[in-house]
């Protein structure tokens, strides 16, 4: 019987909830593993889970410097979508979407993935054409996409100002109905529990302080909890990739760390039943099951590891919000936070073997990392297990920048803050 179910809830309620087991064990690190995954965030945990599930590699440790899920998996706006322009991205994110669609069952953990759609609003004819290009590109890869008329949009989101008198009137939108949102923390916890139940050691409060080498090969890590050896060392530390790579002697990467702020309003009765993006700025919004509006906008725009947001972005995001929803001016912002984003030079991620022997690298998630969590771990596990990428992540190499093979969905070039 499944560990978690309505029945188990009832049974445990009758015994005063005294018999629930820890979601994951708190083991001490062993001296060596087949694979060490550095980073106990969503990607590291899903990598460990799929190493065990898909490849039978269970002698795995996930090392987390703080508490599990303390990185971006717990600091995002929970959107899940595969509505990309370029086929390399669309294929990968669509694979992720398919994993999402069955994730709660797979993990026996309700990650609350709710496919309530993602609508990109268009405000000029040229933008509508751009979205049509994107939607058609998705359709040619078997991914769902539709254009919505203003009337359809009004019915879907009555609170939206679709009047022609708006500064940037809504002309239509691109809808991916299978897109949606999920409960971010549950994804980390679900993967952690799933990996743990398959034998993976999840080791919290264990910070990597250096790499062990044999010649040029990485053979393990030194940590605040001692040295740990491994045949393969995999990095999934997006947000801190630069810092960890510097421990391995690689001083420069095609990555900048940036802060992305996100915001939650006080809890409200349902008012927005989809994920919505504004086309004349950088703003997106959805409503959580608890009723808080969850929204965000642009990067703060400069290198930072501080998880501290700046005020101008707060103002910008809120201005765009009430431009779309003038009725929400009296709703109040309750909480804000900042997440660290690994911004690459083309806005697309890196999942690859190397760059050092014995090392595997998963990074550069920009601000698309949450929705990638299943496919990222799935592809990374494949790459680690087989020592070569799966076709889904084959384009996401580290050398693509230098070879002119960038995957630049926004066409902004090597200016990370603009992706």
């Amino acid at each position: 019987m499944a560990e978690y179910s309505a029945f188990s809830l009832l049974k445990n309620a009758l015994t005063g909830n005294k018999d629930w087991k820890p979601a994951w064990r708190k083991p001490d690190p062993k001296a060596s593993y087949d694979v060490i995954v550095i980073g106990g965030g969503g990607h590291g945990l899903s990598t460990a889970y799929y190493l065990a599930k898909e490849h039978g590699i269970t002698n795995v440790a996930v090392l987390e410097k703080g508490w599990l899920g303390s990185g971006n998996v717990g600091r995002n706006t929970t959107a899940v979508r595969s509505n990309y322009l370029l086929p390399q991205n669309t294929r990968f994110y669509e694979h992720s979407m398919k994993l999402w669609e069955n994730l709660s069952h797979d993990l026996n953990y309700n990650v609350m993935f709710s496919q309530r759609g993602c609508l990109n609003l268009a405000h000029t004819p040229a933008q509508l054409d751009d979205y049509a290009r994107r939607g058609n590109a998705m359709r040619h890869l078997g991914v769902d996409a539709d254009l919505m008329s203003v009337d359809q949009i009004k019915r879907l989101v009555p609170a939206l100002d679709i009047s022609g008198s708006a500064r940037f009137p809504v002309l239509g939108g691109l809808m991916q109905r299978r897109a949606g949102s999920a409960r971010h923390d549950a994804v980390a916890w679900g993967y952690a529990r799933g990996a743990d139940r398959r034998g993976v050691d999840i080791i919290e409060n264990c910070e990597v302080t250096g790499f062990l080498r044999d010649g040029g090969r990485i053979t393990g890590v030194s940590t605040t909890r001692g040295e740990i050896r491994a045949k393969k060392v995999a990095l999934a530390v997006a947000g801190s990739t630069g810092r960890v790579m510097q421990l391995a002697g690689i001083s420069h990467m095609p990555i900048e760390s940036h802060v992305l702020q996100a915001f939650v309003s006080e809890s409200l009765k349902p008012i927005i039943d989809t994920i919505l993006t504004f086309g004349m700025g950088h703003f997106y919004i959805s409503q959580s099951d608890k009723g808080g509006l969850v929204y965000g906008g642009d990067l703060d725009g400069y290198n930072s590891y501080a998880q501290r947001g700046s005020l101008p972005i707060v103002d910008e995001v809120m201005s765009e919000m009430v431009a779309l929803f003038p009725g929400l001016a009296r709703v109040r912002m309750l909480r804000s936070w900042g997440g660290l984003c690994d911004m690459t030079m083309d806005g697309s991620p890196i999942i690859t073997t190397g760059p050092l022997p014995g090392m595997y690298l998963n990074c550069g998630w920009c601000y698309g990392g949450f929705k990638a969590t299943p496919a990222s771990g799935w592809c990374f596990a494949h790459t680690i297990a087989k020592d070569e990428p799966h076709e889904f992540n084959a384009p996401f190499t580290l050398d693509r920048f230098y070879r002119g093979l960038v995957i630049d969905d926004k066409g902004q070039g090597a200016t990370p803050r603009l992706h």
Partner: protein
């Protein structure tokens, strides 16, 4: 965040545009060293700590500035004109000497 423009004085970050890593060295225009060009265009030091970076006071005097800023605390250590000939933030008035 406030950045002290050597010309305009302390101004809110909203007036500035981030122009990235100031450690990058552009190869000579005629250089055919692709590795050097790639490093210049794509590679970043991205330190957790003091960072040498370029900002433009785009909403002010439009000068580009070299700023040393701590990426962990956002504390700004120094600000000077990127273009030579004009002095640092500590000597505002000397900008015109």
């Amino acid at each position: 965040m406030l950045i002290t423009c050597p010309y305009c004085g302390p101004r809110d970050v909203i007036e500035f545009t981030y122009q990235g890593d100031g450690n990058r060295e552009r190869p000579q225009p005629a250089s055919q060293n692709l590795d050097a060009w790639n490093a210049y265009v794509y590679d970043r030091l991205n330190p957790a700590g003091d960072h040498n970076e370029i900002w433009q006071h785009s909403g002010g005097c439009r000068s580009h500035l070299r700023v040393v800023r701590n990426t962990l605390t956002h504390e700004i250590r120094s600000t000077t004109f990127a273009r030579g000939g004009h002095k640092s933030a500590d000597n505002r008035a000397e900008g015109r000497s």
